[in-house]
C-alpha cells in the first residue's frame, strides 16, 4: 500500500500519511455532520411542542421540517472537507516549486499525465468522497427520519424535497 499511495502524491511526500490525513478529515466531517443532523432533528422535535400550564402540547399550526432541510444543515462540514482537499491540491502543485524546481523534471517525463496524476488524484478523490458521504448521510438520515418521526408530522413530498436540495431546484 505504501508504494501505491506514493504514486498518488508528489514524489518525496509520504503517500500513506497523506491518505490517512485525507481519510481523517473526511471521517471528522462525517461525524460532525451526523451529530449536526442529530441535534437539528432533536431540536426540531422539541420545537413542535409548547408548555402551557405545565402541560406539554403540540404547538398549534406547527409544521415539522422536511428531512432534506435538516440534512442540508450538515452540508458545510462536507464543504469544509472539500475545501481542505482543494488546499491539498494547491500544496501539491506548489511543492514542485519549493526547495527546488522539480516541476522541470515532472514536465520532462515521457509519461504525459504523471504530474496531473500526482497532484490531482488525492484531492479529486477527496472531493468526490466528500460529496458521496453527504449524499449517503442524507439518504440515511431521511430513512431514519421516516422511520422515527410520527406519521402525522411527515409532510408529503419528502424525497422530492431531497431531490430539489441536491439538484438545487
Amino acid at each position: 500500500m505504501r508504494s501505491d499511495a506514493g504514486r498518488l502524491v508528489p514524489a518525496g511526500l509520504d503517500g500513506r500519511r497523506e491518505l490517512i490525513q485525507a481519510a481523517a478529515v473526511l471521517l471528522t466531517a462525517l461525524f460532525a455532520a451526523a451529530m449536526c443532523c442529530l441535534i437539528v432533528y432533536t431540536n426540531a422535535r422539541s420545537d413542535m411542542y409548547v408548555y402551557r400550564n405545565g402541560v406539554r402540547m403540540l404547538r398549534p399550526g406547527a409544521e415539522f421540517p422536511y428531512c432534506a432541510d435538516m440534512a442540508a444543515r450538515s452540508a458545510p462540514f462536507f464543504a469544509a472537507a472539500a475545501l481542505f482537499m482543494l488546499y491539498k491540491l494547491a500544496r501539491y502543485v506548489s511543492y514542485h516549486y519549493q526547495g527546488s524546481r522539480s516541476i522541470y523534471t515532472m514536465r520532462r517525463l515521457p509519461q504525459r499525465l504523471e504530474l496531473a496524476r500526482r497532484c490531482l488524484s488525492l484531492p479529486l478523490a477527496g472531493c468526490l468522497t466528500s460529496l458521496l458521504l453527504f449524499l449517503a448521510l442524507t439518504a440515511l438520515f431521511c430513512a431514519v427520519y421516516l422511520a422515527v418521526t410520527p406519521e402525522e408530522w411527515i409532510r408529503p413530498g419528502q424525497w422530492e424535497a431531497v431531490r430539489r436540495m441536491i439538484l438545487g431546484r
Binding site: G12, S100, Y104, R108, P110, Q111
Partner: protein
C-alpha cells in the same frame, strides 16, 4: 543530431532569443558562454520544451515530444530534484520513468561524491545539491545532457571533482551542452565554444580551430563581445580626476 533552427523567444517587448540556430552532433562537449541575461537558460528551456518559442528544434529530424524527451536530461542551478525524496528514492523514480536510466553509474557517482542514498537532498549543502543535480542528469541515460551553470555556489574543489567525472564517465555518443561563466576552467576539456550575446549567437568555434589560431578562449570571447578593457581605466581616471578637483 540536435538541431535548433531560427528559435526566437520573446517575453513581452523583450527578445530573449533572436533567431538562434545551432547544431549539436552526438559526442561533443560544448561550452555555452554568455553574459547574464544573454539567453543561455532560455535556450536550454526552449530545447527541453519548458518554454514556448517560435522556430524549430528537432532531435534526429523529429520534433521533441514525449516519445523522445527522455533522450535529453537537464541539470540546472535552480535544481530539479525532489527535495524530500531520498537518493535511493530518486533512483527508483528515474528508473520507473526513464527507460535508459543508468543505475550503476548513479551508484558510482553517488559514492564518488560521497552523497548519502538514504537522505533527502533538502538536508544537503549547496555543493552537495549541485553534485546531486549533476549525478541525476548524467545517470538518466540521455544522449544530450544540458547543464545550466551547474556549479553555481560550488567551491573550486567541487568543480574540479565535477570536471574529472565529466571527462572520465561520458560515452562517445553522449553530448554535453554546458553553460558556465568559468571560461578558464573549462577551456581545457570542451571541444567547442558557442557564444551567446543579447539573444544572438555571436561565436561558434571548435577548440582545435582556436588552438590553431593561437588565440585563447578568453581573448576570443572578448573579441566577439567587443569587450572594451579601456573603459575600466577611463572610469578610474574620471574618479581620480574628481578626487583631485576636491
Amino acid at each position: 543530431m540536435l538541431e535548433i533552427k531560427d528559435v526566437t523567444k520573446r517575453f513581452g517587448s523583450k527578445t530573449a532569443l533572436n533567431s538562434v540556430s545551432l547544431s549539436l552532433p552526438r559526442g561533443e562537449l560544448v561550452g555555452l558562454f554568455g553574459e547574464n541575461g544573454a539567453g543561455k537558460t532560455t535556450l536550454m528551456k526552449c530545447i527541453l520544451g519548458l518554454m514556448g518559442h517560435s522556430g524549430q528544434i528537432t532531435l534526429d529530424g523529429e520534433r521533441i515530444t514525449r516519445k523522445n524527451i527522455a533522450r535529453l536530461s537537464f541539470a540546472t542551478c535552480e535544481h530539479s530534484f525532489f527535495p524530500d525524496l531520498s537518493g535511493a528514492g530518486h533512483a527508483d523514480f528515474y528508473a520507473a520513468h526513464f527507460p535508459a536510466f543508468r543505475r550503476r553509474r548513479f551508484e558510482v557517482l553517488m559514492d564518488f561524491f560521497s552523497l548519502p542514498l538514504n537522505r533527502a537532498p533538502r538536508s544537503f549543502s549547496t555543493g552537495q545539491k549541485n553534485q546531486f543535480e549533476v549525478v541525476l542528469a548524467l545517470s538518466q541515460g540521455a544522449d544530450y545532457i544540458l547543464m545550466d551553470e551547474p556549479f553555481s555556489g560550488s567551491d573550486v574543489f567541487n568543480r574540479e571533482d565535477f570536471y574529472k567525472v565529466l571527462l572520465g564517465i561520458l560515452d562517445n555518443g553522449e553530448t554535453v551542452l554546458l553553460s558556465t561563466h568559468m571560461l578558464e576552467e573549462v577551456d581545457s576539456f570542451i571541444s567547442r565554444a558557442v557564444l551567446l550575446h543579447s539573444g544572438r549567437i555571436t561565436g561558434d568555434i571548435s577548440m582545435s580551430e582556436l588552438e590553431e589560431s593561437g588565440e585563447s578562449l578568453m581573448d576570443y570571447v572578448k573579441r566577439a563581445w567587443n569587450y572594451r578593457s579601456d573603459r575600466i581605466r577611463r572610469a578610474i581616471d574620471e574618479l581620480s580626476g574628481e578626487a583631485g578637483d576636491r
